[in-house]
């Protein structure tokens, strides 16, 4: 379905060889191809505009080297610019200086929060922590049972109070129970919500206030399209997350959303979720993402 960007640039620059600068016309052809490739990968329209501008600038001035074909050279520039936007290095799981470390998850309906809660618990345990889960989704049918089943499989305790109390009350008491029980890594699962739902956005802000988390993670499905930026910005406004979890990376989505949200919110993607199994979870490696977005 998609041609790789290298193929496309190769075609756009057919017949261009050797040294010398690319002509204006060639640069134009090239930037057109880059633009299309990024839009097909779901990179945000405004982000694409800026990105293509940067590449154009660099490509116009640059000497075509002897070692690389002009196509390769442009690919190199694009890759460098993408890596810049995605942020350089991957970050590590960090812990509160005074335990327990409290991590709160937030995100749209169905993007993978509850699954991520379990995965993160397992991940933390592998680093010597004692995880504890708190079930604050009081809306979705059987959301609490879902977290409980995940906890049971992993052997991680789950704090739940049913669906009557408010999420912020459950969250606050859950964190206290973890502390009293000597657990040092608490993960707070929350209900899925849409950013236009004022009540639910206010609510998740209160949950954040009630638990004062060490870290807030926005859980985002890699298939998210042009809306990713708006979603990420509104969640940032309400819960000021410090990082993101990109989910469902085991599929074939290009993941332009990742590039868009990182460049706009300046929050790193910290974790990659790539499967339904609890172990299919790792740190996020930005350099791998650039190639994925461009199909290289």
């Amino acid at each position: 379905m998609f041609d790789t960007l290298s193929d496309r640039l190769g075609k756009a620059l057919e017949g261009v060889r050797g040294s010398g600068n690319l002509t204006e016309d060639q640069v134009k052809k090239v930037t057109r191809e880059i633009r299309l490739a990024l839009l097909e990968a779901d990179v945000n329209y405004a982000v694409v505009k800026e990105f293509v501008g940067n590449v154009r600038e660099r490509a116009t001035g640059s000497e075509v080297s002897k070692a690389l074909s002009p196509g390769q050279q442009i690919v190199k520039i694009v890759n460098e610019e993408l890596a810049n936007l995605m942020g350089g290095t991957s970050s590590k799981l960090s812990f509160a200086s005074r335990p327990p470390t409290v991590v709160m998850l937030a995100g749209l309906n169905g993007h993978g929060k509850t699954t991520t809660a379990g995965k993160l618990a397992l991940f933390a345990r592998k680093q010597g922590k004692t995880p504890y889960l708190v079930a604050c989704d009081t809306y979705r049918p059987a959301a609490i049972e879902q977290l409980q089943q995940i906890g049971r499989e992993l052997g991680v305790p789950v704090y739940a109070e049913g669906t009557e109390p408010s999420p912020e009350e459950i969250a606050e008491r859950g964190v206290k129970a973890a502390r009293d029980g000597g657990y040092d890594f608490v993960i707070v699962d929350t209900a899925g919500r849409q950013v236009v739902d004022q009540n639910l956005m206010d609510e998740i802000k209160r949950v954040r206030g009630a638990v004062r988390p060490h870290s807030v993670l926005l859980v985002l499905d890699v298939v998210t399209g042009q809306n990713a930026v708006e979603i990420a910005e509104v969640f940032k406004e309400y819960v000021d997350y410090d990082g993101m979890v990109l989910t469902k990376l085991d599929g074939d989505a290009r993941g332009g959303a990742a590039l868009s949200v990182v460049s706009v919110t300046e929050r790193p993607i910290k974790f990659a979720s790539e499967g339904e199994k609890m172990s299919e979870f790792d740190y996020f490696y930005p350099d791998r993402m650039a190639g994925r977005i461009l199909g290289m």
Binding site: Y45, N109, G110, A142, Q146, V196, D221, N227, I231, R254
Partner: protein
């Protein structure tokens, strides 16, 4: 405001609206080319007229019969889709949307508490739920359910399935098996195979629709989570490039939040900012 067919700025704005609604490059290019042509031929200079024309073109792609075929007894409906797109929730909502006696089948035997989630919808709507234990063969649940629906004279049987990415060959093969088991129990069934597509989905939605259609013969799409910020332009791309009709929209988590798809309303919302 639109000046004439040569008005570059205007066409750029149209393109921006379509792309930022996730319509995608090929379908956007097709629409813009058609409109440019028509604007030129008919010498259109009014923005209002052109906006109407755009809506017409989008409607032409989208306007298909949206009624579900529930003329069988029992009618069997199979819900499929990638993870988290809204299958189980919309099965729950369909119980009250469809007339007659409805039964549910807990075909997602994989995800934690997927069975309990469906059972909770069963309690909420009064529909009986056929289920086996977690980890059971999904095709076996479908088999039980078709038998139960026939035996108990249900009008409609709604079968839930586990979320699966269209790229997972083994899971897609499992879906094929579920479908064949249903067919064997009741020739002609499933009568509807609905694919849930999340409105926030970008261009990957095309792959989802294409591959699910190939394996399961999708008869219609439920475009979900349209209550969010996304306009769901991927549905237009799917209708245009895969040819599967959009039949319903889901605009929330509650029972009343499921509606028949209205092509014109959808197209109007798409060009609302123009």
């Amino acid at each position: 405001e639109f000046k004439d067919a040569e008005d570059e700025e205007f066409w750029e704005r149209v393109e921006e609206i379509l792309i930022t609604s996730d319509v995608g490059v090929p379908t956007t290019a097709k629409l813009v080319a058609e409109l440019e042509q028509e604007a030129l031929e008919r010498n259109i200079t009014s923005g209002r007229v052109l906006r109407e024309l755009m809506i017409e073109h989008a409607v032409r792609i989208l306007d298909k019969p949206v009624e579900l075929d529930i003329s069988h007894k029992p009618t069997v409906l199979l819900m499929v889709g990638v993870n988290g797109t809204g299958k189980t929730t919309n099965i729950g909502k369909l119980v009250s949307f469809l007339p007659g006696k409805t039964m549910l089948a807990a075909g997602d035997t994989f995800r934690a508490a997927a069975i309990e989630q469906l059972q909770s919808w069963g309690e909420r709507t009064g529909a009986a739920v056929v289920a086996r234990e977690r980890g059971a063969d999904s095709a076996a649940v479908a088999h039980d359910a078709v038998e139960a629906a026939k035996a108990e004279g249900a009008d409609v049987l709604l079968i839930d399935t586990a979320g699966r990415l269209h790229t997972k060959m083994n899971l897609m093969a499992e879906l094929d098996k579920v479908k064949r088991v249903i067919e064997r129990q009741l020739p002609g069934a499933p009568h509807e195979v609905l694919l849930t597509v999340d409105a926030t989905t970008g261009q990957n939605g095309l792959r989802q629709a294409k591959l699910f259609h190939e394996v399961a013969g999708v008869t219609g799409i439920i475009l979900t989570k349209l209550d969010g910020t996304a306009k769901g332009g991927i549905a237009l791309a799917i209708a245009n490039e895969v040819g599967v009709p959009i039949k319903m929209i889901s605009v929330g988590e509650q029972i009343g939040d499921l509606h028949p798809f209205e092509a014109r309303e959808f197209a109007q919302a798409l060009f609302g900012d123009l």
